[in-house]
Symmetry: C2
């Protein structure tokens, strides 16, 4: 198995991109990643996307994107695993290059959500859950997470205000990220006054929809890269695991079992412990998911997820910085693109390019992309090149 | 790079499966493949599917299928490349196992088209073309293929009846395949009387929609497989290539350039020439595609695609048998599943289990799955184990 590295990254700002089509959006990120890598061509283009078939009436995104960016001929297909579609495309690129079957691959995550009315988007997002058994009962994604959060607060005695630091940190970091959806700070006061979405989840607990695309170029580590290209960042671990699709099938809905298995495998692949991870780009689609992620991946004890944030340990200068470029909460969450934004942001940190929120001496970064309510989890650990 | 082999196959009959849900359909094929392999668990489940998000209001098919068949925990995602989604899932399984990152993978192709009204399915199928530039002009898939066929007939002087042998062979072979959609023979007379769909494509030129699922288990070639498992079949070549998404972007719409590149690479990987291929499961979504496939892959000269069939060389005892289990035309074409049916059928032939249409001394079989109008092509060459 060949070791692989990321040599180029690209992203668009997450926004309501009325002025751009789906292909332009994906193309902008893909071409930026290619330019950053110094390569002119790649062997393969894997596109992570969840809902273009329904939201944009366009499937077949592999060749759709490859054709647009001048990569006609390259191998292509789309990967979909709901909100973890982005990391699936990256993992596919890693496997393809590691296998030796492909020498260079471009992983692209893209989602253009504003082409569909919001009520339809909510219904389409629910197809990431078990359509018959969950969505069929009227359970939207925010409703599922609200049930989990309510139970968590009851079980461990947390109050609403204890979740505020997740949003405060995310919004503070996004201020420095030109690609973020939101450039406005928030506060405990604003958090507590935010309109309720599905009790106890309010607007400040929930990540926003949006249009966005992010991309990365993957090659074998020993490739002689163009001198114009970005500093290589090593893919030290890639691992995926799953739990039941429906939340009601889990003995303990307050523990992200698949996140735990996935990161355990990633720690094993690298020989690292959670204490050696310099920062963690987690999947804070809802603040409860941030808390549960910190617990499942070995950064906090069971039931103590909010503690680190309350102690100021999740900010860029803390013990385990999270959402350093704004996270899903404030950078934004264009579902199938999110996993690729995480990869791009980890690479930025490891190259020392995370202006405004740079984690000091960042050498090892982890990111984790979640599909469904903890159903499909993909974890990557990246390491700065020498 | 590890060599890989197929050790288990499974499929459902292609039909209007009103009595089965999407998960049951996929599960039946997946569990049959697992049982055939003798394995109880696999590391990964990759699901090829085109349109479940719109046709069945269920996305996230990786964990959806894995959970249903008792593989909670396994790595999962969906692969989509329109009608080549099935082969994409198989190629993903091959890359994953070849890379060493996964030790056993189940590739599943599934499509349940009858959950949506037929007019909606036609619109959903058009999302495999370029939605803005082709579908936006009212070009359905059959219309695109009709334009290509008309031009081909004009250019090379073929008449309508010259395409009849493709349908006759497919229907004759499907008679012996219990999983085929159609179990009725056809004839030149019936072909010529078939109702027109989009001139010059009539009902006997076009493959039928349907519900179906097919699956295969992939492991490293040197794996000690359970004695109860199926005889291993070696994956000798896997290769993918693309052409423009929109047909109007091609200099020559009568040549499947990506099929040519893809099979050329597959021949190189194996050191074989087309003459050494014992049979070819091609993508006869329309009879014009069968003709163009024979030409692009080195079995016929340019413009001579129908000749082999007219000479009786495409039947199971001919020089280059095609559609030996009925092909897309008569076995059926549940779009995202088709590529996996092709894999399953090649394995059947190489194991000597193709009852009724067994190709004598079949040692090397090729299959090719096409997404869009020749946009995305995936070719596999399989070889009988020793």
């Amino acid at each position: 198995m060949r070791q692989v590295a990321v040599i180029g990254i690209g992203q668009t700002r997450i926004d309501e991109h009325w002025e751009k089509s789906l292909r332009e959006l994906a193309g902008d990120a893909a071409l930026a990643a290619l330019a950053d890598s110094g390569l002119e061509k790649v062997d393969a283009v894997y596109v992570g996307n969840m809902m273009s078939g329904s939201a944009n009436h366009q499937q077949h995104l592999g060749i759709f994107v490859a054709d647009w960016i001048g990569m006609r001929g390259a191998e292509t297909f789309r990967t979909e695993a709901a909100c973890s579609s982005g990391a699936s495309s990256f993992r596919t690129a890693v496997m393809a290059v590691a296998s030796g079957m492909v020498d260079s691959a471009l992983a692209v995550g893209v989602e253009k959500m504003t082409d569909s009315p919001l009520n339809e988007i909510t219904a389409q997002l629910a197809t990431a859950a078990d359509a018959e058994w969950e969505a069929g009962q009227g359970l939207s994604f925010v409703a599922l997470n609200a049930l989990i959060m309510k139970r968590y607060m009851h079980e461990y005695g947390w109050q609403k205000e204890h979740f505020a630091p997740f949003a405060v940190n995310a919004h503070a970091n996004a201020l420095h990220n030109p690609y973020a959806r939101f450039h406005e700070p928030t506060s405990i006061e604003r958090y507590l006054k935010a309109p309720m979405v599905a009790d106890p989840i309010n607007l400040m607990d929930a990540s926003p929809t949006g249009d966005g695309a992010a991309a990365a170029v993957v090659v074998p580590l020993n490739t002689r890269v163009p001198t114009s290209g970005g500093k290589p960042v090593i893919v030290a671990a890639s691992s995926a695991a799953t739990d039941s699709l429906a939340v009601h099938h889990r003995k303990d809905p307050l523990f992200l079992k698949a996140a735990n298995s996935s990161s355990k495998a990633a720690y094993q692949q690298t020989g690292l412990s959670p204490q050696e991870i310099d920062f963690f780009e987690l999947h804070d689609a809802f603040s409860i998911m941030a808390a549960l992620s910190l617990e499942a991946n070995g950064f906090a004890e069971r039931g103590q997820g909010p503690r680190l944030a309350l102690d100021g340990e999740n900010i860029p200068t803390g013990k385990i910085p999270i959402a350093t470029r704004g996270g899903l909460k404030a950078r934004g969450h264009p579902v199938g693109a999110t996993g690729m934004y995480q990869i791009v942001e980890v690479v930025q940190q490891l190259r020392g390019e995370a202006v405004g929120t740079q984690v000091e001496n960042a050498r090892i970064g982890m990111c984790q992309n979640i599909g469904g309510s903890g159903s499909n989890i993909i974890t990557h650990i990246l390491r700065a090149g020498i």
